[in-house]
């Protein structure tokens, strides 16, 4: 393959959340890496004519997004999503690195499966795909997985996905063992007995809809337990989804104690509340469930102040056979790769979050947690970039999604701003700018 032509991204508003940079400038790409970046490259003058110019038109140029939680149906449920289709959806949403959950069929709990995913990603994906491996074998919550072998094969973290580990002794051992490989343990906190049969947030609305509720305590009890175990073991712990003030309080105390804990929330918990379920909309059935409006506001505030570290889409593709059902029979989960950035921009436009804070939660913070060479506009890093048009208004429609599954809770929502162009190692993998079409595969 001939060497690709170097590129100059000019006339940009450079936003690098890691360094709190936000100003006019440009960026040079050579051999797939960021060669130089700064205000000096705002104009084309002085840049060698060898470089292909990409005029960003004053739009934001930021590091490509790192989505820390993406469920994909490959292997085992390719009709819902393949690694390839998820990567296309990611590129369209400005996501250049997606972290794949191990809740496939079979479960990713073996080095050979990690290898399979990486090879499939190499052959079929347009963005980077890193698998997380199971924390316990078969995600059964009984025996710690082979973290060292899985890590060597390329697993970037360990989680049982949407399953919470009920057995305290098993979880303690897993946390302890993870220290030997400095692994990141990602946990979904839910007391299964307390949440059993629950369909939505417990409250007046669940009573009105005649649905069994899930109390916030089903989450916070486990968060409380986990923080105690992290204190006991000294492990690196990431709370996959935080959704209630009780957990925020526990998280704050753990961070104040200096424990190595972080937490993520989801776009739907930041943008929607339980009332959006209205007349039993199954696309709004998520786990943890959508909470009340005051809780949503508390989550946004926690993200703003940095108590919540990461926003992850928790992309969970579900076909009609799992969603076009009565609410109680429908599966939990929503797709989110293509709405992650629009939701964050909605919060930015609503003055709930500064742009750098919003982007940090989906770039440098998750990249650093996972030890990835991504999420920054820094010389030498892979040129995984996104050009964001902050202003374009549009109606988000499920039929326009590139994801194979269309179960978005944001169908019909009015958004402002989205990814105009996405590059991976400097190659254009998604473009809405007609002057700069996608590079041939």
């Amino acid at each position: 393959m001939s060497e690709p032509r170097p590129r100059a991204f000019i006339n940009a508003r450079l936003v690098d959340p890691a360094t709190e940079t936000d100003g006019s400038g440009g960026l040079l790409v050579r051999l797939g890496r960021i060669e130089a970046v700064g205000p000096g490259f705002f104009n084309a003058q002085g840049i060698s004519p060898d470089y292909e110019r990409i005029d960003c038109g004053g739009h934001v140029l930021a590091p490509g997004l790192v989505d820390m939680a993406v469920s994909i149906g490959e292997p085992g449920a390719e009709h819902k999503e393949t690694i390839g289709s998820a990567s296309l959806a990611g590129a369209a949403g400005g996501v250049t690195t997606l972290i794949m959950m191990p809740n496939t069929d079979p479960v990713i709990d073996d080095a050979s499966l990690v290898d399979f995913v990486r090879r499939r990603a190499r052959d079929t994906a347009v963005v980077r795909v890193h698998p997380m491996a199971a924390l316990t074998k078969g995600t059964e919550g009984k025996v710690t997985s082979e973290m060292a072998l899985l890590g060597d094969a390329g697993a970037v973290g360990f989680t049982d996905g949407p399953k919470s580990i009920a057995n305290t002794r098993v979880f303690r051992r897993a946390l302890e063992y993870s220290r030997s490989v400095d692994g990141l343990v990602v946990h979904h906190a839910q007391d299964e007995a307390l949440a059993a049969g629950g369909q939505m947030n417990e409250g007046e609305l669940s009573t009105r809809l005649g649905l069994q509720g899930i109390p916030a305590e089903a989450e916070s009890i486990i968060v409380e337990r986990d923080m105690a175990l992290v204190g006991l073991t000294g492990a690196r712990y990431h709370l996959a989804q935080i959704s209630c003030p009780q957990s925020l309080e526990t998280l704050r105390r753990a961070k104040d104690r200096g424990l190595k804990v972080t937490a993520a929330t989801t776009p739907h918990h930041l943008a929607l509340n339980e009332i959006d379920i209205a007349t039993y909309r199954t696309f709004h059935k998520t786990l943890p469930p959508l909470r009340s409006e005051p809780v949503r506001l508390a989550l946004v505030e926690a993200l703003r102040e940095g108590l919540i570290d990461v926003v992850a889409s928790h992309h969970d593709p579900r076909g009609p056979e799992e969603k076009r059902l009565p609410f109680e029979e429908a599966a939990f989960g929503a797709v989110g790769l293509e709405s992650l950035l629009p939701v964050l921009l909605e919060l930015v436009h609503g003055n709930a979050l500064p742009l750098t804070t919003a982007l940090r939660a989906v770039t440098s913070t998750p990249a650093d947690l996972l030890g990835l060479h991504a999420g920054r506009l820094a010389t030498g890093r892979p040129a995984d970039l996104v050009v964001i048009d902050l202003d374009e208004p549009y109606i988000f429609g499920k039929d326009q999604l590139l994801s194979k599954s269309k179960n978005t809770p944001f169908d019909g929502r009015r958004f402002q701003g989205r990814a105009a162009l996405t590059t991976l190692s400097g190659r254009i993998v998604h473009s809405r700018l007609k002057d700069y079409p996608k590079d041939a595969a």
């Binding site: 669940s206 005649g210 009565p326 109680e328």
Partner: protein
């Protein structure tokens, strides 16, 4: 009785729940039902207002009185009534509700009556079919025709609904009957007491406009009506109550407890009753106080009224001769 009725101020295409209905709509349906009460006491009960109409009863949960009541109501109005036996159909072979709805819709029914174990399932069905849909009970959400027949029974005995005080006792948590009754009685400006152990109360029930009591004696004070609910043990996963005998000790209705309510208070039960669990036979069987058989009678009248009112909005031979649009 003539086959033409005066206008009824209920103009919705379906009856999916009581929540959201206005007092005048409820009153209109109750007034209309009165017309059928006398009709049902005649030797020849048959009318022909629904002649040529097809009514399908689709019951995913077993039911005796409600299904029979809808069947009789439809037949007395002249409709062709079919009962779908869910247990013997492909619904049990994994067919989804929406596929079933599409299949049934292709048979051009005019009226679809559905009961389903999931809250909201009837709403879902109504979105997918072209005919009138009546909710015959969905999960723990609503059972609107039960609330209407209860209201008709109360109104006939007390002369009004406004200002009356009704105690609803027992398994409120799992009860769609309780929810529909609460919405209806609130819409009609009645006062509702709910009486149950905390484990059988759904969260924030007080926000629905009821007064909550844990003590039966306090809750029954001054009530015109005592509505007992069945303990729905089949919906209970886990320890809601320690035992039936302890439940009866605290929340069972017997003569002594009933004395706390207003003299002459009505005793109601949507059935089927668990005698000795929530209600003492001496109370249930006393015709001077128990109106339980009358509730069943009103049920047929209410359902006839509803079927007739909904059928008015369906396309007919005059507006669409020879075909359905």
């Amino acid at each position: 009785m003539p086959d033409a009725f005066p206008p009824v101020a209920y103009h919705r295409p379906h009856l999916l729940g009581i929540q959201g209905l206005n007092a005048h709509e409820i009153t209109a349906l109750l007034d209309h039902a009165e017309r059928f009460v006398d009709q049902n006491k005649r030797i020849n009960k048959k009318l022909s207002v629904l002649k040529g109409r097809t009514q399908i009863n689709l019951f995913f949960e077993s039911s005796t009185r409600t299904q029979a009541s809808f069947e009789i109501a439809g037949k007395r109005l002249g409709a062709d009534v079919m009962n779908m036996a869910v247990k013997a159909s492909s619904i049990n072979k994994g067919e989804t509700l929406i596929d079933t709805a599409i299949t049934l819709n292709s048979m051009h029914p005019d009226l679809l009556i559905m009961r389903h174990q999931c809250s909201g399932a009837v709403d879902l069905l109504a979105q997918k079919v072209d005919c009138a849909v009546i909710n015959a009970g969905d999960g723990a959400n609503e059972h609107p025709t039960q609330a209407l027949l209860d209201a008709l029974t109360m109104r006939r005995h007390l002369g009004r609904l406004e200002g009356i005080r009704v105690a609803i006792c027992g398994d409120i948590r799992h009860s769609r009957v309780a929810r529909s009754n609460i919405y209806l009685l609130n819409a009609m400006n009645a006062t509702v007491h709910v009486i149950a152990p905390p484990t059988l109360l759904p969260p924030h029930i007080e926000n629905l406009g009821v007064r909550v009591f844990q003590s039966m004696d306090e809750g029954l004070e001054g009530c015109d009506v005592v509505m007992m609910l069945r303990l729905q043990t089949e919906r209970m996963e886990g320890a809601y109550i320690p035992s039936n005998r302890e439940y009866f000790r605290l929340y069972g209705l017997d003569q002594a407890r009933l004395a706390r309510a207003k003299p002459g208070a009505l005793v109601m039960h949507p059935g089927p009753m668990n005698r000795g669990v929530e209600i003492d036979s001496a109370v249930a069987d006393d015709p001077a106080i128990s109106v339980i058989p009358e509730q069943v009678e009103m049920g047929v009248a209410v359902r006839m009224a509803l079927l007739e009112a909904l059928a008015r909005h369906l396309p007919d031979e005059e507006t669409a001769p020879g075909e359905r649009v």
